[in-house]
Structures are given as structure tokens and as C-alpha cells.
Amino acid sequence: MNKLSSTNTDTLSKSKNRFSTLDVARIGLMIAVIEVSKFALSAFPNVELTSFWLIMFTLFFGWKVVILVPAFILVEGAVYGVHLWWIMYLYVWPLLVFLTWLFRRTESVWFWAFLSGIFGLCFGGLCSLTYFVIGASAGGVSAGIKSAFTWWIAGIPWDFVHCAGNFLFMMVLYRPIKYAFKRIS
């Protein structure tokens, strides 16, 4: 290995382990992409691209996405205000990123479509945990279970919509976006 390529390798390995200015700029762009997608689809309840983008960004950006998720959640709170759904975001989106990171070496579009669909289907159930805490704090564990269960049941039809949307978006967009990411990386 000559001196020049050795220096390049050092620089690359260093940049893999710490945040560069480019990383910070990329995180900003990623949040902008998520927010614009979210706004564009706001007329369609439970049809969203946030899951798709978080999966793709985790696959593309690796562990550095740990900064993206809290930054995205903070921006969401700043734009739309801090309500119950914001508390749900604190654990729901990090869970998706964690699951994606666990399976990051898998390259099948079908796998990611299934994972994204499962996440969309379970979204209401995951969010209902917040209602469990609220109900439990007011009337004990049984009240918490009742609150969470009724809230989850009422939203199951929308969880099906969420599942279908996530699945289809991944099937359609995974390959072109992966190709685009490979070109810019």
C-alpha cells in the first residue's frame, strides 16, 4: 500500500468513527426529506414515508443515525407541538432504527417490505403502551390495560392501512433509493 492510499484509508476509518461536517449536513438533509414527505402525505391518515426513510437512512448511514432519530423527534415536537404522540415517538422510531440496524446486512427488498409492514401493523399497539401508563397511573394496572386495549382495538383498521402503505412504499422505492444512495456515497 503506498503512502497516499494509506492516508486515505486512515481518513476513511476516522470519519467512520466520528461525525464530520458532511455527516451533520447529511443529517439535516435527511430530517428535511422526512419532514417534507410527512407533510406531503399528511392528507392520508397512517400513510407515511417516515418508516421507509428511517430504514433506508439506517442502512445507508449506519450507527450515526443515532443522532438523526432524536434530532427528528425534536424537530417534530418543535413543528407540531409536544403532545401524547410525541411521547410515543420517543420509543417507537428508535425501536424501528434498532431493528433495522440488527438486520442491516440483509439486502432483500421483500425482507424490508415485510419488516416495514410489520412495524406499521404494530404501530398502534406500540403507541398504546403510553395509554397503559396513563390508565395505570389513574386507576391501577387493570385500568391501564383497559385503556391501552380499547385504544389499540379502535385503531386496528388504521394499523392495516399503515401496514399496507409501508409495505408498498418499500416495494416500490427500495431499489431506486438504494441505487441513488450508492451513487452519492
Partner: protein, 140 residues
């Protein structure tokens, strides 16, 4: 690698299919249901001044929103307005009084027989003899 991927795909497909079946079954076994037929109900409205108005209705409505629509159209004096959202109608105005959570933390709370309602008015089943109460409340 290819074999490993195929295994993950199969597991993903099976998990998704199983969850779809389980969720559908749980939903159809537990979704809010109502029986049809003549039901006598009472609707109460308590405004920000604490004054309560009572309305009686004999209805075949399955869900409370239909009963509220009947009441608002039969000259009882009851009226409401709301906006449709992801989880049904969000009631914002009752009997001309607006509750704005964004401005002062106020909202119209729905009670069923004195208990805090578990559903929105368009998924709250109507049962004979029940009392439904809209109360103007403010977040603490």
C-alpha cells in the same frame, strides 16, 4: 448468504401473515358493537358555566354520533360541530360553545353513565337507558 436471506424473507412473511390474522381476529371479537332497535337515551351538555342541559331521545342509532345528528336536526336545541380525523370526529363546538385546546387547554369530554368515555362519539355504541354527557373541561 442467499439462503440466509431467503430464510429471513420466509420468517418475515410468516410473521406478517400471522399478525394480520391475529389482529383481524382480535378486532372483530372486540370492536365496539351496538344492537339496533328503539332505545331511550339521555344526552347531557355541561358548558363552561357549569349549567347542564338535558335532552331525551328515542332512537335506533347504533352509534352516538347518529343520535347526536338526530337531536341536532329535530329542533331540540342541541347542536355540535367537529372535525373528522384519524380516530373519528373531534367535537369542538357543543351548543355554540367552542372548546379550544390550542388556546386555553379546553376540550369537550364525553362521559357514558358518569364514566369517562373510552371511544369517540362515532364509535361509542348507543344502549337503551344510557346517559351520555358532554362536559366542557380544561386541562390542568
Amino acid at each position: 448468504m442467499e439462503k440466509k436471506n431467503n430464510k429471513k424473507i420466509v420468517i418475515g412473511a410468516v410473521v406478517l401473515a400471522a399478525l394480520l390474522v391475529v389482529f383481524a381476529a382480535v378486532y372483530f371479537m372486540n370492536k365496539p358493537t351496538a344492537g339496533a332497535g328503539a332505545k331511550d337515551i339521555t344526552l347531557e351538555v355541561t358548558g363552561s358555566d357549569g349549567v347542564t342541559s338535558d335532552y331525551s331521545l328515542s332512537t335506533d342509532a347504533e352509534y352516538l354520533r347518529e343520535a347526536m345528528d338526530e337531536l341536532s336536526e329535530n329542533g331540540s336545541g342541541f347542536s355540535y360541530e367537529g372535525s373528522d380525523g384519524e380516530y373519528g370526529v373531534m367535537v369542538e363546538v357543543v351548543n355554540g360553545e367552542r372548546a379550544s385546546y390550542a388556546e386555553d387547554g379546553a376540550y369537550w369530554a364525553l362521559y357514558v353513565n358518569g364514566e369517562y368515555g373510552q371511544y369517540g362519539c362515532d364509535s361509542q355504541p348507543v344502549a337503551d337507558g344510557d346517559t351520555y354527557s358532554w362536559k366542557y373541561e380544561q386541562a390542568q
